[in-house]
């Protein structure tokens, strides 16, 4: 019960108890398995209720008012919308004309745009279910316009090998925040794309340079004419003919593989640093009226979060390996005999499949309980808010929106928190 409302500057605290979060996630993972995924609506709601309620901004905690049944209903509506769409693409694929040939690409693009539409609508649902000091957040603006913008930006980012990404994020974030309100207090985003670009450029070069070396070596060494002839000639042993046409190709392939793994390794090592950079840049650009945010997030804190994940992952691997040995022995007993019935086969398949699901869900749970929770906590606790006196006279505005966007995002696999 601090008296932050009267002061100008305030911070953010995370009050959550990690043990309670672990309990929530482990129970959720077990129920996901039992219900074959239907429990996800309840788990997502529990997770949000926990994260929101334990995030205290200037002395008051957030509140999440969404319900699992809303999410379930939104998902069912999304299924009703998507079934005719999928059926249409299915029928179009049967058509032999140019439409049929293109239908795969068209479906990919259309579902991509629809995914971005869903992302925007889902954000709207989450914002209108976020309550702070008795007022809700909300979001206006056309989701289709956002989808168009986002799709064009993704295309630009793809064509520039990721160099346009900072400008994409800045532009899309400006769009989102311009249409975001806390009560009647309008939001905006002040982050500049080129700042992120300049800071991220060294990391981009570090990852892309080895790939560029590999590509360069290919262009330099390979005799393309001979290679094309060898490929066109075909025959039983294309590989040996290619090698005959280009004696140095073996060395180049080895070099390319080396460079490729270097790039992968660097990407993995630099990922936390990139995430810290993004998070710091993004949260420092958020504004609501006179309220400004500034992040003091440190890169090594984010590395710490990932080290935690690594440590718990190793622990989980050891436990999983012990259980795997037991399960394999059980499987051997079930299928070891000469005559195994269909029942034994089904049991063995179920054990294998169950083991896989447990491992996959286990890793996802460990990741959420360590890296993701730490990132949430670090991101929030590193925030400094100024201009908080504006909080005394914000008026209520906006209404709760439907969960169809969340349902679409779920059905299209583009969900977030």
């Amino acid at each position: 019960m601090t008296d932050a409302g009267a002061t100008q500057i305030g911070g953010v605290r995370f009050l959550g108890n990690r043990r309670a979060y672990w309990r929530l996630l482990v129970r959720g993972a077990l129920l996901l398995m039992v219900t074959l995924g239907i429990y996800r609506f309840w788990l997502a709601t529990d997770v949000r209720r926990y994260l929101w309620a334990n995030t205290e901004i200037a002395g008051e905690t957030l509140e999440y008012t969404g319900t699992p049944l809303e999410l379930l209903l939104g998902f069912l509506v999304a299924v009703a919308i998507l079934v005719p769409v999928y059926a249409g693409f299915f029928l179009a694929a049967l058509d032999l004309g140019s439409i049929g040939q293109m239908s795969g690409l068209i479906a990919f693009l259309a579902l991509g745009v629809l995914g971005q539409y869903a992302v925007y609508r889902a954000r709207r649902y989450r914002l209108t279910r976020t309550i702070y000091r008795g007022l809700r957040f909300h979001q206006d603006g056309s989701a289709w316009l956002y989808a168009l913008r986002a799709s064009l930006w993704w295309l630009a980012t793809f064509l520039t090998l990721g160099l346009a990404y900072p400008f994409q994020i800045a532009s899309l974030e400006r769009f989102k925040m311009r249409h975001t309100y806390y009560g009647d207090l309008a939001g905006r985003f002040d982050g500049a794309g080129w700042r992120l670009f300049l800071r991220g450029l060294p990391m981009w070069i570090a990852v892309v340079a080895p790939l560029a070396f590999a590509a360069g070596a290919f262009i330099e060494v390979v005799d393309w004419q001979a290679l094309a002839d060898a490929a066109a000639a075909g025959g039983d042993d294309v590989m040996s003919k290619i090698e005959g046409s280009n004696p140095a190709i073996g060395g180049v392939v080895v070099f390319a593989m080396l460079m490729g793994s270097t790039a992968l390794f660097l990407a993995a090592v630099l990922y936390p640093a990139f995430q810290a950079l993004m998070l710091r840049w993004w949260s420092s650009g958020l504004r609501f009226g006179d309220i400004e945010m500034r992040s003091t997030l440190r890169t090594r804190q984010v590395y710490g979060a990932y080290m935690r994940f690594l440590g718990y992952s190793i622990l989980f691997c050891i436990i999983a390996a012990i259980f795997a040995v037991v399960a394999l022995v059980a499987m051997g007993l079930l299928t070891g005999g000469d005559k195994t019935g269909v029942g034994g086969e089904i049991a063995a398949t179920a054990i294998l499949l169950g083991g896989y699901v447990i491992v996959a869900l286990g890793f996802s749970t460990v990741y959420r309980a360590t890296a993701l929770l730490s990132l949430w906590q670090l991101g929030m606790e590193s925030l400094q808010l100024s201009g908080l006196s504006a909080l005394d006279q914000v008026k209520a505005s906006g209404r709760a929106s439907s969960a169809v966007g969340e349902g679409l995002a779920d059905a299209l696999n583009v969900g977030g928190y």
Binding site: G37, N54, G134, L135, Y356, A396
Partner: protein, 367 residues
């Protein structure tokens, strides 16, 4: 304890009010710092909202205005909860809801599995005959392009199909003789297009729309023309049952049931793939058994030797099949051979080709 301190938000502005809360017999009353009454909530409309563990956050049930009252003192919070009929801090209600989610999910999964096991093949069997033959043909053409891309190695310089070169023409004529005799007894809704293709596996397949591919490996392995005819009769069974179209409908139905409604969680993809594989294998086993029965009956009608089909299947299938029974896409060879032999007619049979024609068919891919 009937009074305590709290923080109140009126839901109209974000202003924070430090308030005194009084629990009167019929309502929870909220008084501002100046002693003015700000609100009175009856106990049955109190609802607990999400909050940190040490805070009781109250709202009013079904109220569009987001009024909130926060109580930090644990003892006083307990006194409020004791009066509020709709607040359950023991978690009983949550547990009950979770239980019903599990119950209904299990029921939904069971009913989906039943639909997938019985409903999807039954529906596909009902829908496939209703579709116009043109749909089959279109589908077949699309599959044909894919199959050729996969099967045709494109390196021999000769055509993928056998029977067009001069030295192969006689073989083509022999093949046509077999197909015509079978087709005359089959009465199909669409005309067959049968090809021998340059693949060394002993196999044959039917595409939707009446296309039948016989691999040259099958002809190499056959000892009589009736063995080839028997396999073609089996493939005609697939065409007559429209199995290609059925398989597409079945795959679509399964994708919808499992891909969309179930299994959307980490690791769920594997469950969906496994369930689809097992189910599709079982559909396929049924289709193969039905095509065997059709092929045997057709051989009987055409005056061919039914045992030749069984012999050929025995050769292709080999002695034992490795792997799991639930993943086999056709019944076990022993059972197939027995089933076919059991329907063989007693009357005498006429060979499909004479020795000269049979020798020509053997050379259909010689060019």
């Amino acid at each position: 304890m009937t009074s305590g301190a709290g923080i109140y938000f009126d839901g109209m502005t974000s202003a924070r009010h430090d308030v005194a809360v009084v629990l009167s017999p019929d309502a929870l009353q909220i008084a501002g710092g100046d002693g003015r009454w700000l609100a009175a909530w009856t106990y049955d409309e109190l609802e607990e909202m999400a909050a940190p563990a040490n805070v009781l956050r109250l709202g009013r049930r079904g109220n569009a205005v987001l009024e909130r009252l926060e109580i930090f003192d644990a003892e006083f919070a307990a006194a409020v909860v004791a009066r509020a009929v709709n607040i359950d801090r023991t978690g009983t209600r949550q547990r009950r809801q979770r239980g019903s989610v599990i119950g209904w999910s299990v029921a939904a999964t069971a009913s989906l599995l039943l639909v997938a096991w019985f409903g999807v093949p039954a529906l596909a069997a009902r829908i496939a005959p209703l579709l116009p033959v043109a749909v089959d043909r279109k589908l077949g053409d699309a599959v044909d392009i894919q199959m050729r891309g996969m099967l045709d190695p494109r390196n021999s310089g000769t055509a993928f199909e056998c029977g067009s070169a001069d030295s192969e023409k006689a073989g083509r004529t022999a093949l046509d003789k077999i197909v015509r005799r079978l087709e005359a007894s089959a009465a199909l809704p669409e005309t067959l297009r049968t090809f021998v293709v340059r693949r060394t596996e002993a196999n044959a397949m039917a595409l939707p729309g009446g296309q039948v591919y016989v691999f040259r490996g099958l002809i190499d392995k056959a000892d009589t023309a009736d063995e080839v005819a028997g396999v073609i009769a089996h493939e005609i069974g697939h065409v007559a049952h429209r199995d290609g179209t059925k398989a597409v409908l079945q795959a679509g139905g399964l994708s919808f049931l499992f891909g969309m409604l179930l299994g959307d969680f980490v690791g769920g993809g594997a469950v969906v793939i496994a369930a689809k594989t097992v189910l599709q294998s079982s559909y396929s086993r049924e289709a193969e058994a039905a095509a065997d029965a059709y092929g045997a009956a057709l051989m009987n009608r055409a005056g061919g030797n039914v045992h030749a089909l069984a012999t050929m299947l025995g050769k292709i299938g080999g002695a034992t099949e490795p792997g799991m029974t639930i993943l086999l896409d056709h019944p076990e060879t022993k059972a197939r051979v027995a089933a076919i032999n059991s329907v063989a007619g007693a009357k005498s049979t006429t060979p499909f080709l004479d020795a000269k024609e049979w020798a020509a068919l053997k050379r259909i891919c010689a060019g």
